[in-house]
Symmetry: C2
Subunit: 121 residues, 2 copies
DNA sequence: ATTTCATTTCAATACTTCTTGAAATATTGA
DNA sequence: TCAATATTTCAAGAAGTATTGAAATGAAAT
């Protein structure tokens, strides 16, 4: 486990680009739903009706951006969403919000908190 | 104020595409930092060293995606980040995480909460 | 060893999106 | 009305990204 450091702008942009594609967005969300156990590439291809070669390219983009991780199990490769990286991306997006004014900023905290709660229902 | 509804996949994808560009990402974050008061286009162009026509195109993309809002003040147009929309996008990204298992899901909630706090320092 | 299975790699075409500068619009001030 | 300011619109070349199918890799089963 390598030490995590704040995202750079190009890194954050790469992650957003990776998600900015309907196919990859579906892939990522399917992996988020699958949780830490992840899913093998083949099952993703089947479930989302994406050709294996196309899926492979998309998974390479997501993984290269640091949003997903792979592990091998026999002849399959199991992909999982990196939720810590995801939270860091969110943090990057709203960094320094409201110029740091805690009063104005409160609503952002509240909204993000609500988003987190809502996500887990 | 129109009622908000959950994002559709193409809408979320449009918002991510809007952010998936270094120039627009800088613009968006500058607006997040500016808070609800927002900033006139001209000042953004100056501060970020982007040509007016290019900036205008980028702001149109962000606004079209629903991530920023405009209002007119004299001959300037003042843009502001839509932080509620931003929180909804985050919520969409991690929806149904861990298949809804509250135990696994706890870490996501914790990470997002931490991201929100960190953003406001 | 050979076959089968899961996945990736490659190369080419097709498709989108960026950027630029000039011209247009709209608002204010003289 | 005329000039100045703030911003947007437009068109076109330049650059980047997606998709496809065939071939290659690597691991397991026979």
């Amino acid at each position: 486990m390598t030490d995590r450091v704040d995202l750079t702008e190009p890194q954050a942009c790469g992650q957003l680009s990776a998600l900015a594609h309907e196919g990859r967005l579906r892939i990522f969300r399917a992996l988020v739903a699958a949780g830490p156990a992840g899913m093998p590439a083949g099952r993703l291809a089947e479930q989302l009706d994406i050709s294996p070669s196309n899926l492979s390219a998309h998974l390479a983009v997501l993984t290269g951006a640091g949003l997903t991780q792979v592990r091998k199990a026999g002849r399959q490769r199991i992909y999982a969403a990196d939720l810590v990286a995801t939270a860091e991306l969110v943090s990057f997006l709203v960094a320094d919000c409201c110029g740091g004014d805690p009063e104005l900023c409160r609503s952002v905290t509240a909204n993000l908190g609500a988003a987190a709660i809502k996500a887990c229902n």
